[in-house]
């Protein structure tokens, strides 16, 4: 337990920053127009102010109530998002099967203990199933394996 709710305080301040940035970009880069004929900048400018206002409200509430420490994990997001990034990097130059290999292996590391046999079986199964469903079944134009060099 903490004396004030730091989680909501930081969250609220994050909203304030985001809202301010949105309003700033809208006002400085896009025409605002008039109330009757609004330009592309008006609506997002209003929304930015609204978001910042809600952020202030949330922060103020957070100041007058106790909170608990948020549960932040490092390895789970790292490996899960890393797996997605690997898929994105691999799919175009190398094709579908290597991309599946990359995402399965990397995201499995989020478990923090490797079970080689089950991982190998899973990878094999997915590498067989996905091409069957998406390429053969649905006829989507994705190449399975390629060598770009």
């Amino acid at each position: 337990m903490t004396r004030i709710d730091y989680t909501d305080l930081v969250g609220g301040l994050g909203l304030v920053l985001t809202g301010a940035a949105v309003s700033y970009v809208s006002i400085s880069q896009y025409p605002l127009g008039t109330l009757q004929r609004m330009g592309p900048g008006m609506f997002p400018a209003i929304l930015g102010v609204l978001l910042a206002g809600l952020g202030v409200l949330l922060s103020l509430q957070a100041l007058r109530r106790p909170g608990s420490r948020p549960d932040i994990r490092i390895f789970s997001p790292l490996f899960v998002l890393g797996g997605i990034a690997a898929f994105a990097l691999v799919i175009v130059p190398f094709g579908l099967v290597p991309a599946i290999l990359a995402i399965t292996v990397i995201s499995s590391l989020a478990e923090l203990r490797v079970q080689p046999v089950s991982l190998a079986l899973l990878t094999l199964a997915l590498c067989l199933m996905a091409p069957l469903v998406f390429v053969v079944g649905l006829g989507l134009p994705i190449s399975l394996v390629r060598w770009p060099f």
Partner: protein
Amino acid sequence: MEFLANIGLGFSVALSLTNIFYCFLGAFLGTLVGVIPGLGVLAAISMLFPLTFHLEPTTALIMLAGIWYGTTYGGSTASILLNLPGTPANAVTCLDGYPMARQGRGGVALFMTTVASFFGASFGIVLLTLFTPVIADYALRFGSAEYFALMLMGLVAASTISEGSAVKGLSMVVLGIIIGLVGMDSQSATVRFSFGVMGLLEGVSLIALAMGVFGVAEIIMSVRRVRTADIDPETLRLKAIKPSRDEMRRSWFPMLRGASIGSFFGTLPGTGPSIAAFLSYAIEKRVSRTPERFGNGAIEGIMGPESANNAADQTAFIPTLSLGVPGSATMALMLGVLMIHGVAPGPNLISSQPELFWGLIMSFWVGNLILLLLNIPLIGVWVRMLTIPYHILYPAVLMFICIGAYTSGFTVLNVWMVLVFGALGYAMRIFGFPGAPLLLGFVLGPLMEEHFRRAMVLSRGEFLTFFERPISAVIMALTGMILIWSVWSAEIIRRRRAARAAGDGATTHEAREG
């Protein structure tokens, strides 16, 4: 008597062997596509579209319509089992459906959503049969001010549905609208918030956003926490899909209310099933005597929305067929099928093409019955998915998410967007921001801006227009009431909880939502 003759005519068309077959094909494919996260209605339709040129227009429409309402049936499956909304209209089903599955009541949830879907659809079909011409004229009374007011009401309702503060919900709605504005402005074609990425001209991908914020974030939260051993094998038996008497009792009114809300929103072009489902959820939570059960597996929280989105699916045909105004891309395709065959949709369609109109509507009964029979035996298969150990399930789900994102447009940008929104979704979990309002804000944001700007032109810059036009004023008043009500009731819940917490001296920080 003429009415009965029309219904007879409709059934004679709908019950021909060819039409039953294509109805089945459409409904089956729709269910399948609804279940696979990332594949949408349009993917299914583009697979079967070439067929439509060689079919009678009525048969073609029956098949396409089957795909359309079939996806909504199937979409709830992924929501309940994986916390991945199969379609945006099913997003709100995640909120209580997924907790139910985690508690081993996945079979009940799947069974009951199928029942709710069938009920909502039937309600919609009855309305469609009785009132198409009347409703079409009514829908015409909605101008830009009314649309804006309606969407505002939907968003405010959505922001209050999740556990926790209304401020957090509202801020996620606003953030969702802002993300929805990325890309070219619908009035002036000015490019906004694209940061020089050409692929963002078309805006952020809805699929990437939904799968990132719901699916990827859920996986990050669940890794190393969820154990399959938590699920009692007893709950996988077919008889475990039977809801308890208490659950049956709780389901009636939500279904009825959901169907009414859904039927109403379905008739308004451009709003449709998603907003109906969100509103229905908000209302169920409001009228409940035990709102704290919502978000923790309350059956009302899946019955209302699933009834609403299916009812809306059916009544969406009203403006399409009677005014020639399609409310969505899928409805536009239906219109296209009509035009290819030289049928002009419009006020005269019902009188000039009675076989087509009544045949199509009566085929909805056939299709929904097929879906009911198709989905219930499948429940056992789906629920078994929960017995797959999580360390095997989640890499497979991630793979489906990535392939789904990539193939929706064949651009890697969508996969990167999944990553960005996965990270955003995880951050939102940490700070306790709800995901469902973000999604609805995103879907409705661009429409809302369009109607807001147009309403301001039509009122010559006068904000008061939203309160002066009678229909709009009523909706705005309702919106205000929802807002006050939710702030007030959230405060009460907070106090109650604080009192309880003070009682046992320990609280856990609740960060759970869809």
